[in-house]
């Protein structure tokens, strides 16, 4: 297999629910060994992307490929290389802890039972406990443990942080990082909680209604994207490609940009407004996300 071939490749995906446009001509790819986070507010279609990727939704037009195979014709071998976590850590909850391991173990040649039971042991769950009787956090560990035991080349995680308290979320993130670091694994995950993400994802793809807002390395966003506050007598600032979400906050103004303070000042003053006390702050990923997508 061509090592340069993207693990995930989506070309010109257009999809509607009824008459409501979800995206138009969505295209992106994920290179091997990367952890990509697909971030977006609720309702921007993150889960829809996951469904299309795995062939559980036929888009109006466009095509996705996993390991070079079209999404609605994935071969068994390719499906075996992909670990899938559904939204809400859904698993076959009628199994107990031991049964579900037994069930999945026969499907995957590289099955590593130790990885699963290692995680389970930490939770102090009895092996005979039924998954349906577990808390959300415990269920997430079972689902994650199964994925690690499967040892897939590509992990697709849909909103893994949903419903988790901070401790479990941190645990999940740590495991995931460790796992990805071990060797050439690709991870594609979605989340609407951005906290902890900066510690995890290499690349960040931010989805807005109908389009991709941004697809950049996380480090670039953290280094270059800043919040600028300033005072001005201007009533309004016209839209500018350099600036994001310029708005009045109390008596001051704020705006977001990848540009340097000089460039920002220049952009703001373009209409002759007076710009005073311009101040740049570095941002966490969550702040950057809000800066990019707006508060509403």
């Amino acid at each position: 297999m061509n090592p340069d071939m993207p693990v995930i490749e989506c070309r010109n995906i257009t999809h509607y629910y009824g008459n409501r446009l979800i995206y138009e001509n969505l295209s992106f790819e994920v290179q091997p060994g990367k952890i990509l986070g697909l971030l977006g507010k609720n309702g921007t279609g993150k889960t829809t992307v996951i469904n299309i990727l795995n062939g559980y939704l036929k888009p109006r037009s466009g095509v996705c490929r996993l390991f070079g195979e079209e999404m609605d014709r994935l071969s068994p071998a390719t499906k075996g290389r992909v670990g899938l976590l559904l939204e809400g850590h859904v698993q076959h909850a009628y199994f107990n802890v031991r049964q579900i391991e037994r069930y999945y173990s026969r499907f995957f040649p590289r099955w590593n039972a130790g990885a699963y039971f290692g995680l389970i042991d930490r939770l102090k769950i009895a092996p005979s406990q039924k998954i349906s009787t577990m808390s959300c956090g415990q269920r997430s560990q079972v689902a994650l443990g199964l994925l690690f035991a499967q040892d897939p080349d590509l992990l697709i995680l849909d909103d893994f942080s949903m419903g988790l308290d901070p401790g479990y979320r941190r645990l999940f993130v740590e495991y995931l990082r460790e796992y990805a670091a071990e060797g050439g694994k690709t991870v594609f995950l979605t989340s609407h909680i951005i906290q902890d993400m900066e510690r995890l994802i290499d690349d960040c793809m931010i989805l807005d209604y109908g389009r991709i807002l941004l697809h950049e390395p996380t480090s670039r966003i953290l280094d270059r994207f800043g919040r600028f506050t300033f005072a001005s007598n201007a009533e309004d600032f016209p839209a500018n490609p350099v600036l994001w979400n310029t708005a009045r906050v109390g008596s001051r103004w704020e705006t977001y940009s990848f540009a340097s303070p000089e460039e920002v000042r220049e952009a703001l003053a373009a209409n002759g407004a007076e710009i005073l006390a311009l101040n740049r702050e570095t941002l966490s990923l969550e702040d950057a996300f809000i800066g990019l997508t707006g508060k509403y």
Binding site: D72, L84, F95, Y104, F107
Partner: protein, 222 residues
Amino acid sequence: MYRSIIYKEWIKTRTATGFIVLAFAAAAIHSFMKIAEDLRLSGAAACWELVIQKDPAMFPLFEYLPAIAGVLAALAQYVPELQSKRLKLTLHLPLKEDAILLAMSAYGTAVVTLVTAFFGAVLLWGLSANFPAEIAGASFRRLLPGFMAGPSAYFLASWICLEPRWSRRVLNFIPGALALSLFFMRAKSGAFCPLVPWLGGFMAAAFFFVFQSTARFKDGVQ
């Protein structure tokens, strides 16, 4: 890998299967007690004459039991798959999707068919101890449509159950229920004989209906 699928189906359906077997066993015991009572009270000769002249149903409880078992098996198998769309996990297994579905459907078919066939054999064996072969044969011919309704009900219920859209489920239910009602037309023992090959053909076709529902699920119909 197929063993694993069977294992999953077993975990899902074992309660329902136990319930089905229990219901069949209870109905069989009740039927035999009733027949034994009639033989004791009226005498064998009078019983035989009544059967020859009036053609009563010997096992009325077994007319609807297989169909109920079929519906129950389908619900036990597929309702958990549709809760939170777990079917996505199932179809994601490293096997061909058609093969996964085929294995699941074959499991359910086998459960319904084996239980009905086993109890059918028990009923006929029990009947032939006290009645001539012709009467046992007539009873078999009377039970046959109801027993064929078992797998048919299973196929139709699976088809309706796995259909992703509620409005469509209702639309599927109507022809499904009408078709199933054909298995329960009131008739003399043996009257169904010319219809049996057609009902068999329908059963064979209905086996594949569930693939239509799954194809729609895969297309993301909501």
